[in-house]
Symmetry: C2
Subunit: 328 residues, 2 copies
């Protein structure tokens, strides 16, 4: 199949750029130094390529991501880096022998984990992003509580999400270090082998964590594209120009094809004016039938809209992968 034959809108990945991104990261953070976050791509076929590059441990954000990776034979060592209160499905998964380590940050989440016969946890520590995670000073006593409930505490995690996207690299490095000092202080109280943190924006700066949870590096987006990282834009939404007017043209990909929280997608050779449900209005105008290669502003919620991704090399489609970890 040729790229020219793909029905639009469609999600495309440059297979060669993908391979280069995977190789570049595997060289920087080989093996277990990277625990790729599958929330960025939600695709077990892509995870299999990451595993082939030496990363056998994965990070997940949802129970379905854990279930899907396990079903694909990739459940060697999964970190569900999120709090869960309703752990029934997780309990079922663990009962089949899949290794899932769960994040906990409160007595409630520890008790929910213990009740569901989860075996292993990490203490999730707030390192500066106002989201999940306990206060660093509380991490030790939560670890004690978890052990009291029969849980194995493998260490700590703490996501410096307030730092990963900063364009100024020195500011990013400074915030990352401050965050990791908090995480290390918590780790001193908690113990365990894992100090899990980081993302695509800090993978090379974060020398304190012993595993990095980067995900977006593999496909990239325009937000991470501004950070000067050694990864290429590999994901595109392909649209066809279906209408053209004197001042603009309209492609057949819109709000249901792009995560929009970081703003409009971008074109290498034009400007996106706005998106509607199934349309993108771009300038300068171009002929009906032309293809638009749109770069998502935020890859994670973009992937979650698409059923499949077309891998291409040059003009050829070389594979089609289901985005099989969508939903919850």
């Amino acid at each position: 199949m040729l790229v020219a034959e793909i029905e639009t809108p469609a999600l495309l990945v440059d297979a060669d750029a993908l391979d280069r991104n995977i190789a570049a990261m595997a060289q920087s953070l080989p093996g277990d130094r990277l625990r790729p976050h599958v929330k960025a791509h939600k695709c077990t076929s892509l995870a299999r390529h990451q595993a082939a590059a030496g990363h056998l441990r994965f990070t997940c954000a949802t129970i379905r991501e854990c279930e899907g990776l396990a079903a694909a034979g990739l459940g060697h060592d999964l970190l569900l880096a999120n709090e869960v209160l309703d752990a029934r499905r997780l309990a079922g998964l663990i009962a089949t022998g899949v290794r899932v380590t769960l994040a906990v940050d409160s007595a409630d989440t520890i008790i929910a984990a213990a009740d569901a016969r989860v075996r292993e946890v990490v203490i999730d520590v707030n390192v500066g992003l106002p989201r999940c995670g306990c206060a660093p000073a509380d991490a030790g006593k939560l670890a004690d509580l978890a052990r009291h409930h029969g849980l194995e505490v493998r260490g700590v995690m703490g996501y410096e999400g307030h730092a990963v996207g900063l364009v100024d690299a020195s500011e990013r490095a400074e915030l990352c270090e401050a965050a990791m000092q908090l995480l290390l202080s918590a780790h001193a109280d908690v113990g365990g082998e894992l100090v899990s943190a980081g993302g695509t924006g800090t993978y090379a700066l974060n020398t304190w964590a012993n595993e990095i949870q980067a995900g977006s590096y593999v496909l990239m987006d325009t937000a991470y594209g501004r950070l000067g990282l050694p990864f290429e834009q590999a994901a595109f939404v392909l649209a066809t120009v279906i209408s053209s007017s004197p001042g603009w043209s309209v492609g057949d990909a819109g709000l249901k094809a792009f995560g929009m929280d970081h703003g409009n997608p971008e074109l290498a050779d034009g400007k996106v004016l706005f998106c509607s449900d199934e349309h993108v209005t771009v300038t300068p105008p171009r002929p009906v039938g032309d293809r638009l290669w749109l770069m998502p502003a935020h890859i994670d919620p973009t992937m979650a809209y698409h059923e499949r991704v077309y891998l291409f090399s040059g003009d050829e489609v070389v594979d089609i992968w289901p985005i099989d970890l969508r939903g919850w």
Copy 2:
């Protein structure tokens, strides 16, 4: 099943509010005066309720929406209110006897329609929104071209999308009237029985079109909620508080559960600070385990993220509908 037993995140619809919205619209625009747009909900079960209220003709934005409605027995008279260049699947559908009328706005789209043995079209006219549609003055000659290619021209459509969301009702009415004068001038040149236009924001103002393409009225969102329309917020994303800190709490629904182009979802009894992929950070803080009823800012791209919708009445789940028209 009880609402309290639903795993989160989940999309919920208040079945009673839904019924009231359907009834209110059916009273204002009975039968064929409304051609409900299914892009707003992407759910054949919901479309069936609209049909039961007397609306047997539907508007679609994608070929898959046409295919799904037809498979559900709702293909009596479908308007694909969008331009299509690759009409192969549409041709297959029409060959089975489904009535689909296609929007065209250029020689290219007319020829694509004729080549695919589409039988009926409307001329899509630009009435002020910089998107699809021909210049009003060109509508007549495009209709002639379509007839020359053997297509039946059923009339015109023109979406006043630049007007439907305006909070100021008199400004909305003024822009709507100006847009419809353009559409009527095009219709005078085109002929045919259909003058199709309108949306939830203009359904009551637009007295010039003879069918209104409203969709969002049935579920509503916070953007349309500011317009003082007689429709209730019926759709919610339910989240569970999984983490709580002194200044905020975190629910388990995020960027992959909400269309974000209109901004953050809203809470009746609190404030959303920000969304991450699988998290919503809200204030004031509340206990772990509490449920958050989040109102989407934009319903259409929200629906497209969810596999199913839970219909509830009081504390009970009364039905579960698949969102079966997602994708393309």
